[in-house]
Amino acid sequence: MSAPTRISLVDETSCEADVEAVLDCLRSGWLTMGPRTQALEQRLGELTGAAHALAVSSGTAGLQLALQAAGVGRGDEVVVPALAPVSAAAAVAALGAVPVLCDVADPLAPHAGPKQVEPAIGPRTRAIVAVHLHGHLADAAALRELADARGLVLVEDCSSALGAPGAGVAGALGVFSFAAGRQLAIGEGGLVVAADESHAARVRSLRSHAMTSGTWDRHRGHDPRYDVVDAGYNFRLDEPRAALALTRLERLAGEVDGRRALLARARERLRGRDDVALVFNALSVEAASPAALPLALPDGARRDRFAAALDELGVPSETLPALHAFSAYREVPGGARPQAEAAAARTCLLPLYAALGDDGMGFLLDAVEQALTRTG
């Protein structure tokens, strides 16, 4: 294989096993939630260690369902780190609740811990969202302790963290995403895990219009009548996507190991430079299911020059603005967030996935070094 001239932001490789799994499902003629979705839920329950696992249409939908199951409704507040995917705030707002955006600890450790979350808790707070940013675990145990002490529900946003041991099971509910670029990518899809049967039952009901029986049950000869017991949604996953997820799940461990190894290699090569800093510490890397290679430049201006130089060298990258930088969330409460703003300004997120391989990572790291030289 010749050396790459440009790498892709996310893994867009597929194999014939993926194709066959989806085609088998389509040939079966049964496309809506059925045996494949059930099998996927069982496998993902085992993998995450959660008592209940429910496949949904997306991570965003999953967060909305998890928060609603946690009792969040119109007028309530939910504490969300200001440095998080848009979906974390959107899921809160979709319920008519207010995301209260708290700061994060530090640009190089950009999680929100109890110290940042606690000041954002008020009389209308119902839940806390722990965000496992870029696949690195936040201290969910400490946040759970805080949530329990204050009578709140902890929901873990694991949208980028499938494969990180313990993700999703410290909180009452956890949510994973299967969108493009994720460790398990199927186009669109997600998963909610729950420890408690009552939370799981609520999610199961609301994801399919709060109907008391599904099309599959009726197809199997159960009573054709059903009741609708709440105002639900269509947040179902369907069988073709469940089939793709099931086959790709067999490669998940390899994907996560590959990402960890490539991340370790990148950190080894970039360690000790004074023009770029590694986000997260070595301990965090070991426990992570890495979703990107996050690098912090000394300031925002240099980050922008670095990203432009990288792009010219064939390496695309992304940034993660603080949520309150967006018009929709500019006015939400939560106080000053200097660390989140610094992290957002300084950080550049580079591609990281197993299919990059040693050649791809070598190309990427050469580009990083050249771009740093050009950035000055």
Binding site: E12, T13, S14, D18, V19, V22, L23, L26, R27, G29, W30, L31, T32, S57, S58, G59, T60, A61, R74, V86, S87, A90, A94, G96, A179, A180, I186, G187, E188, H209, A210, M211, T215, R218, H219, R220, G221, D223, P224, R225, Y226, D227, V228, V229, D230, A231, G232, Y233, N234, R236, L237, D238, E239, P240, R241, L244, F326, S327, A328, Y329
Partner: protein
């Protein structure tokens, strides 16, 4: 088959995915691009052209399309939306999702179980923001009259065209009479892909709103900058679904034509059968999508006849219960009474209908039905 459970030998619907559909999906997966790609755009363009609409926005479900349509109409807390009760619950639940109140209106009657425009007019208040009309079973409701009424009263008309992807009224495609139309690609639908939906509109602002809100409210500036405006959702359709739908659309016209033929044949075979009323007229069939074959039975026969057919290996269903009768709605709106809707809902039975159904299968269904209603 004598047992009441297990796979029916004549199913309610039978979804067959053809080789060219499989090839389209296989090619998409091999491309590696599973989301936010050109196949979704191509499907949207094809569907918009099929309807004669300016814009089509592919979505994760018809419920999502209804939700975005209501939001685009400005529906929010304190507002009312007039909806039929004789529909799938999503027509009403998407109103609740906006924080607004669904106000249930009557159907014309069992012989025409479509929304009654006169009853809609009576229910308009100063809080009414929109009217949702459902094209029941793929038969055109009075969308023209409702559009005129909404225009006159300054309301938005939203068409729930989940059943009607290839149906028309006066030469105009259903879904294009109001501010927006919502379509479903759920697996038992006329055009099906498992899960999926679509919003169509001629209004540029509604289209831009739907495109942004289906993807978390993200908008891109001319310089490539990214902002988030308002509350958005993940209502995106993925690429394999778009590829499957684009492929299956090629057979939509022929499928609907076959459904219409089978429907007319059903009507002929069922004509004069005591205890069975077949809704709509023969003339309606020519422009409908013939999504399902509903018949109306005598009182107290619905579940029993369904069971008798099941014993003959024939799967039937009840298309809809009255939404206002569901627990979730009785709790919120306890005083709703819609006698015509309730009568239709407790007497309707949906017979098997799918493009690959054979005349022999149809004869068996009709024979078993005649025997069951006579029993």
């Amino acid at each position: 088959m004598s047992s009441g459970t297990g796979n029916p030998s004549i199913p309610l619907f039978d979804l067959r995915i053809e080789d060219d559909d499989l090839a389209a999906v296989a090619e998409t997966i091999r491309s590696g691009r599973l989301a936010l790609g050109e196949r979704t755009e191509r499907f949207e363009q094809a569907f918009a052209a099929h309807l004669g609409a300016r814009h089509a926005i592919a979505l994760s479900s018809c419920t999502a399309a209804l939700h975005l349509a209501y939001l685009a109409a400005g529906v929010g807390p304190g507002d009312e939306v007039i909806v039929p009760s004789y529909t799938m619950a999503a027509t009403a639940s998407a109103v609740l999702q906006c924080g607004a109140t669904p106000v249930f209106a009557e159907i014309v009657g069992r012989e025409r179980p479509s929304l009654d425009p006169d009853d809609v007019a009576r229910r308009i208040t100063e809080r009414t923001k929109a009217v949702a009309v459902v094209h029941f079973a793929g038969y055109a409701a009075a969308a023209d009259r409702l559009a005129a009424l909404c225009d006159e009263r300054g309301l938005a008309l939203i068409e729930d065209a989940a059943h009607a992807p290839d149906a028309s009224l006066g030469g105009r495609a259903l879904g294009t009479f109001g501010l927006a139309g919502a379509f479903s690609f759920f697996s038992n639908k006329v055009l099906s892909a498992g899960e999926g939906g679509l919003l169509c509109t001629d209004d540029d602002d509604v289209a831009a709103f739907a495109r942004s809100r289906r993807s978390l409210g993200v908008v891109r500036g001319a310089d490539g900058s990214r902002d988030v405006e308002g509350v958005g959702f993940n209502y995106r359709m993925d690429e394999p679904h778009a590829a499957l739908l684009l492929s299956r659309m090629r057979r939509l016209r022929a499928d609907v034509e076959r459904r219409r033929e089978l429907t007319l044949r059903y009507r002929e075979l069922l004509a004069g059968l005591d205890g069975v009323l077949v809704p709509y007229d023969d003339a309606d069939v020519a422009t409908c999508s013939a999504y399902v074959m509903p018949v109306m039975l005598e009182e107290d026969r619905q579940v029993e006849v369904s069971r008798r057919l099941r014993e003959q290996g024939i799967q039937t269903s009840i298309l809809y219960a009255a939404v206002h009768g569901f627990t979730a709605y009785r709790e919120r709106f306890p005083d709703v009474s819609l006698p015509r809707t309730e009568h239709a809902a407790r007497t309707e039975l949906t017979l098997p209908l799918f493009p690959t159904m054979t005349e022999a299968e149809q004869d068996r269904v009709v024979g078993a039905l005649a025997e069951a209603v006579a029993a």
